[in-house]
């Protein structure tokens, strides 16, 4: 009894019968024809679309010039945002010291800024608030 391809498909594990071999030979011939079938040429329109894609996705040449640093770059150069918090705290502290200097600080500052001040080894004002009883 002739077995059809469909039967074969359900019995893939079986050995090939003579009929299978003929069927497979026919399939091989069919596939071979398809393999050598003429392929239509790509239309000019399709080729134009392909080249258009290529142009659109053309990567630029590798950039060698450095971009001008923006404020973000400066922040990054100074250590990024974590460093910024410390920097801002220091700024605020400096501002405060400037606005409300202690008297001692103004003496020291005056000295640094070139104003002549006389200092005795034993300051009249006991800056450490130590009372000498004696």
């Amino acid at each position: 009894m002739r077995r059809s391809w469909r039967d074969d498909a359900q019995n893939w594990g079986m050995e090939m019968s003579e009929q299978d071999k003929i069927d497979m030979a026919a399939l091989d011939a069919f596939l071979d024809q398809a393999k050598h079938a003429p392929v239509p040429e790509i239309s000019q329109a399709a080729m134009a679309r392909i080249l258009d894609d290529a142009q659109r996705h053309l990567p630029g040449p590798v950039a060698y010039e450095m971009p001008k640093p923006g404020w973000r770059d400066w922040i990054a150069a100074l250590g990024g945002w974590p460093a910024m918090s410390g920097l801002m705290a220091a700024g605020v502290a400096g501002l405060w010291i400037g606005v409300a200097p202690s008297e001692t600080m103004s003496d020291v500052m005056a000295g640094m800024m070139g104003e002549s001040v006389s200092m005795s080894l034993f300051p009249e004002a006991d800056i450490f608030d130590l009372e000498f009883e004696g």
Binding site: M24, L31, A34, V39
Partner: protein, 202 residues
């Protein structure tokens, strides 16, 4: 550097030097548009052949060519030399794109496949050729994707099993098994249509 190498590489392209395609891709990645033109001229007809043999339809095959090459343009900046041959990569991408399309066609009978608008004088032989290619595509659509890919790479593209293994990223044994099962499935799908399609011994 790649730009300067371009001229020499183009000269080698005809000799089937695979590295030439990688070099051209590198040139393209460095902003050389003419490298894309050379690549497209060389690769598009190959992809077209593979896609047409799997899909049996010119317009669909053209779409696949465009899509496959689009992926190539996009991957160009990340292409790692020596990792894979451009042609191997393209066979894989094209096979996947084709089975994606075949899967969408599943369930659509041959009669419902629209006749191409191509109104060239249709000789009987041409008609039969066309319907054969469409019948093959329809039969491939009924196969599991991997079987359809293995059968087409082996029997329509005529590639050797080790190359197919590389394309499909499987062992050569797996290729053999997939191809054998694929052919059995194909035979089953095409059973009863041999006379109609004008092949075989009946």
């Amino acid at each position: 550097m790649a730009r300067r190498a371009n001229g020499r590489m183009q000269a080698n392209l005809g000799a089937g030097d695979w590295d030439a395609e990688a070099a051209l891709l590198l040139a393209y990645a460095n902003g050389d548009a003419s490298a894309a033109q050379t690549l497209a001229t060389e690769l598009a007809p190959r992809v077209m052949g593979q896609a047409f043999r799997m899909l049996g339809d010119r317009a669909e095959a053209e779409d696949v060519v465009q899509e496959a090459l689009l992926r190539l343009w996009k991957i160009a900046p990340d292409w790692r030399r020596g990792e894979a041959r451009v042609t191997t990569w393209l066979y894989r991408v094209t096979a996947n794109l084709c089975t994606d399309r075949l899967r969408k066609k599943r369930g659509v009978g041959l009669d419902q496949i629209a006749e191409p608008e191509d109104d060239a004088p249709s000789a009987a032989a041409m008609m039969q050729e066309r319907s054969r290619m469409q019948a093959l595509a329809e039969a491939l659509a009924k196969l599991p994707d991997r079987q359809a890919q293995a059968v087409s790479l082996r029997h329509l593209e005529g590639l050797a099993n080790p190359e197919i293994a590389e394309i499909m990223k499987i062992s050569t044994e797996a290729v053999e098994s997939l191809t054998a099962r694929g052919k059995r499935s194909l035979a089953a799908v095409l059973a009863g249509r041999r006379a109609e399609l004008g092949y075989g011994d009946e």
